[in-house]
């Protein structure tokens, strides 16, 4: 198998069967050891499952890196009201393409993770909220789920254990903001996809007003492996604070872009030079966005110091996010790239909070003006100031995501902005 590219530096746990269409079949999945973890977990108490996950140190793979076991432990212990497990498969962050691959190559891995997760938080219903554009992915998942129901792995009295857990695949309608956990809940309930004010937090008031936990696809896909092998086993990979493996979605100016599963703490430079076969055409590296478009951009020097774990990224002033590594070589036009990201966020802002609704669109217009050579140096200071007013002033963090690339690119690549401004001034003078 040569799923687009592979590397011997990889530790393939979640992505073992990427590129193998047989894995989608329930029989193959079971033959290869699938649903054993489910059987084991259903034989254990809910809290024991939570403890295994706590022991593993698994952190949420959606971007925030919140410890999964701890999140599960926030759920109420009684089941007087329905609990819900929500799986966030609304993967929309520019640069991210791991969840789609996890679902389409190994749908049962996710279903098994969801069922175990539901058992752990005493939920009897799981909603898998798929991004609206994931037509093929959603179909693959729905077919796998039908098979799982047919063979008694999901639904009533799973594997004769008396446990009932239903799973519903829900297709979104194509809005980035529905990947925000409370926006997803509103969308799932049939309302506008608008993030909710927290508190109350989902563990108290979540989907349909009931206690809910929401986890990323990749997080839930790791669960069967952790339940099977134990927390200690999982901790052998990665760093002390960021244990385990992580899928890195590498895109941009590298020779071998793609999904790579690597232990956390892997050096970013090595990822680019070795795993991905280096920057294309032997060009020099200019910049990397290591965690999806909402994290600060870093320059080549910072890349050389950056390790790919939650703490390592913070050390160089950025974030691991969902580990979507966007690589830009010396030919990249930073201003244009940032403008495109801001356009994206302006388009995807839900429009509730004023700083985001007005600020993102305004920032996009200013960026466009600068790109067209009609900017001034004062615009840069104003951009820094205006985007700062979008940080921490809104219900969700979408507007912070506008600020991150703008501010970091102005700080680190001010020359590129100035060059466009000067060129515009020359044209204007002539």
């Amino acid at each position: 198998m040569a799923y687009p590219y592979v590397s011997d530096k990889e530790v393939r746990i979640l992505s073992t069967y990427f590129g193998d269409p047989k894995q989608r079949h329930l029989d193959t999945y079971v033959e290869r050891g699938g649903y054993k973890a489910l059987e084991k977990a259903l034989g254990m108490g809910a809290d024991d499952v939570v403890n295994i996950v706590k022991d593993s140190g698994l952190r949420g793979r959606g971007g925030a890196g919140f410890p999964t076991g701890l999140k599960w432990s926030f759920m109420p212990k009684d089941s007087s009201r329905p609990h819900y497990l929500l799986c966030n498969a609304d993967e929309s962050e520019p640069g991210t393409f791991k969840d789609r691959e996890l679902i389409r190559w190994d749908p049962h891995q996710l279903i098994e993770g969801c069922l175990i997760g539901a058992h752990a938080i005493r939920a009897q219903h799981v909603y898998i909220y798929c991004r609206g554009e994931f037509f093929e992915t959603t179909q693959v998942l729905a077919r796998a789920l039908e098979d799982a129901y047919a063979k008694g792995y999901a639904g009533e009295n799973i594997l004769g254990t008396g446990h009932t857990i239903d799973v519903t695949v829900h297709a979104g309608a194509g809005a980035y903001i529905c990947g925000e956990e409370t926006g997803l809940m509103n969308s799932l309930e049939g309302k506008r996809g608008e993030p909710r004010v927290k508190p109350p937090f989902p563990a108290a008031v979540g989907a349909f007003g009931m206690p809910s936990t929401i986890n990323n696809v990749e997080t839930l896909c790791a669960i069967p492996h952790i339940v099977t092998n134990g927390g200690e086993w999982y901790k052998q990979y990665g760093t002390e604070k960021s244990p385990g493996t992580k899928l890195f979605c590498v895109s941009g100016h590298v020779n071998k872009p793609g999904n790579y599963e690597l232990p956390l703490g892997f050096p970013l430079q090595e990822l680019i030079d070795d795993v991905c076969g280096g920057v294309r055409d032997g060009n020099a590296l200019k910049a990397v966005i290591p965690g999806g478009s909402s994290v600060p951009i870093i320059n080549a020097e910072e890349v050389s110091r950056c390790t790919l774990d939650y703490e390592g990224c913070v050390e160089v002033g950025t974030m691991l996010g969902c580990a979507s590594v966007i690589v830009m070589d010396e030919t990249a036009d930073i201003v244009k790239q940032v403008r495109r990201m801001v356009d994206f966020y302006a388009h995807e802002s839900c429009g509730q909070c004023t700083p985001c609704r007005e600020g993102s669109a305004w920032t996009a217009k200013i960026m466009r003006r600068i790109e067209n050579g009609e900017g001034t140096e004062e615009d840069l200071d104003m951009l820094m100031e205006v985007t700062q007013k979008m940080v921490g002033t809104t219900i969700c963090v979408l507007s912070d995501s506008v600020a991150a690339p703008v501010q970091s690119s102005i700080e680190k690549f001010r020359d590129e902005y100035l060059a466009l401004i000067r060129r515009g001034e020359r044209v204007g003078a002539a």
Partner: protein
């Protein structure tokens, strides 16, 4: 856990019930934190981000409208940081705002204008072209100017949470989001949509009726009470050039909250019409002629004195104030006593405001039906406020009429009366035979009180000047009664109310001053026919 929380807001120690929001706690020290989406009568989506305040120890500014107070919390609403945060948010509001204040109906009472004037940047920094939505007719009385909208969604929430008729929504997202109606019907056929114009903090939703009629700063505001039904919604008369320009609800949680119905809101043009009786008229051998008050009252007194035990029949109006009705009752007594009837229109059903169910457009379509009942008057006639006066029309004794213009009666009404006194605002065919016509004021031109269906006595104040020689009925009739009984006439509405409190048990012990602007409930209520 104690029931109260003590915290510090802008250096003041504040103790409020647990669960109070910072914004509401700040109100208790007179600090109004700027806000758009928060409204005390609806849920708080915390989306306008204008009420962000600085809370010591919190990593981010907190929305005051949804953040509940905690013991020992230190809140700053006026610190450099809080002001800077607010100024930042205000700048965003102006990025796409058309700044068309000179032609905007809301100008002068606009929260965006006020806040920016108070705390905004001196100069806007946006050089970019603005997004343009244009206008939309939302149906009913509402026009939508999309470009002025601040997206607070108060209107959407009013329709869904308070009127509970989902007629408005937000469509699209980001800065393309805009308020819109479903289908073509828009707000057509809803009964409370005028309120969304009131709660719109800017000029996005304006009243077609009021459009371009007056500037906000030219309007005088007079507290009053709506006369369109027996609910007695507290309102303000907005007047200019001695004309009522519009009615607006006035907050009173015991009666109407912040709301009023569309019927009541638009029932004001009759006040401005100018088809009024402006001078006392005395009929002498067939023809009526205008005279001064002194001549009219002197003549009437003489006529009354000349009567020889004639039977009295009286017609009052449920639109007259308690004081007017009290003076009228006094006059009937002074003439020797008799039965007083009144007629009042009734609707088939109530129109309840579902999200504020103690408020409804009531069946009785007059402000003081309850007052008339307490005064001992009897309801006659049909639900259309017509008929029921057959005995009186041909009465040969004394006919006294207050306020009821007798529009359904013909010109023979009172033609056989020994003495026919019409005290009112408008003439009709049936008033032609009156020996004395005494012009009086409407509720908009005088002080007084109404008693609503719950027995709440509520004051209103004069917002426009009375035409010609028209005077309040309590004043005119009170003077007559004083002359006839050698008593003391009322010199003010307060005097008239005090007399009422002394003579009608239901009003006993009540004080005009204590009623204030919110009213008080009478000692006893009578059950209204049909309720």
């Amino acid at each position: 856990m104690s029931e109260t929380v003590t915290l510090t807001i802008d250096g003041h120690e504040v103790t409020v019930p647990r669960g109070t929001t910072i914004l509401e706690a700040a109100k208790t020290i007179g600090r109004e934190v700027p806000h758009y989406c928060y409204h005390p009568g609806m849920s708080s989506p915390a989306m306008c981000r204008l009420c962000l305040v600085q809370v010591e120890g919190a990593p981010k500014p907190m929305p005051g409208c949804v953040t509940t107070v905690m013991d020992g919390q230190v809140v700053h609403t006026e610190s450099e940081q809080a002001k800077a945060d607010r100024q930042g948010v205000l700048e965003f509001y102006l990025v796409n705002h058309p700044l068309d204040c000179p032609i905007c109906d809301m100008s002068g009472e606009c929260d965006l204008q006020d806040y920016v004037h108070e705390e905004g940047r001196e100069h806007g920094r946006s050089r970019e072209p603005k997004r343009i939505f244009g206008r939309d007719d939302f149906g009913g009385d509402v026009l939508f100017y999309g470009d002025r909208c601040v997206m607070c969604t108060r209107c959407v929430r009013f329709m869904s949470e308070v009127e509970q008729d989902h007629r408005l929504t937000v469509v699209e997202r980001g800065n393309r989001s805009v308020i819109d109606t479903f289908f073509e019907e828009g707000l057509e056929g809803t009964n409370w949509h005028g309120n969304i114009v009131d709660i719109c903090p800017v000029g996005a939703l304006v009243s077609k009726d009021f459009l371009h009629k007056a500037r906000a700063w030219d309007l005088d505001h007079t507290p009053s009470v709506c006369t369109s039904c027996s609910q007695g919604c507290n309102i303000d008369l907005h007047t200019r050039d001695n004309l009522v320009q519009r009615l607006k609800p006035r907050e009173n949680l015991d009666v109407n909250g912040w709301w009023m119905c569309d019927e009541g809101r638009h029932n004001y043009e009759w006040i401005n019409k100018g088809d009024r009786i402006e001078a006392p008229l005395v009929r002498d051998s067939g023809a009526s002629k205008a005279v001064g008050w002194k001549d009219a009252l002197t003549g009437l007194l003489a006529a009354a004195g000349a009567l020889d035990g004639a039977k009295i029949m009286a017609v009052a109006s449920p639109l007259a104030s308690n004081e007017d009705l009290g003076a009228f009752t006094g006059l009937v007594e002074a003439f020797g006593g008799g039965d007083t009837v009144y007629r009042s229109a009734r609707a088939e059903s109530e129109v309840v405001l579902k999200g504020f169910p103690t408020l409804a457009r009531r069946k009785d379509l007059a402000a003081n039906v309850h007052g008339a009942d307490l005064m001992g008057a009897t309801r006659v006639g049909g639900d259309d406020a017509n008929g029921g006066l057959d005995d009186i029309a041909g009465h040969r004794g004394v006919i006294l009429v207050l306020g009821d213009a007798l529009a359904d009666q013909d010109e023979s009404f009172g033609s056989d009366a020994a003495l026919y006194v019409y005290v009112g605002t408008h003439m009709s065919e049936a008033t032609g035979n009156a020996h004395y016509v005494l012009p009086v004021t409407t509720f908009a031109e005088q002080e007084g009180t109404f008693t609503n269906l719950d027995g709440r006595v509520q004051r209103f104040w004069p917002g426009v000047e009375a035409p010609g020689m028209a005077r309040p009925a309590w004043f005119v009739l009170g003077a007559m009664v004083a002359e006839m009984t050698e008593g003391e006439g009322a010199r003010s509405a307060a005097d008239a109310f005090a007399q009422l409190a002394g003579s009608v048990q239901a009003f006993g012990g009540m004080s005009y001053d204590d009623l204030g602007t919110r009213g008080a409930v009478v000692n006893e209520t009578v059950s209204l026919a049909g309720d």
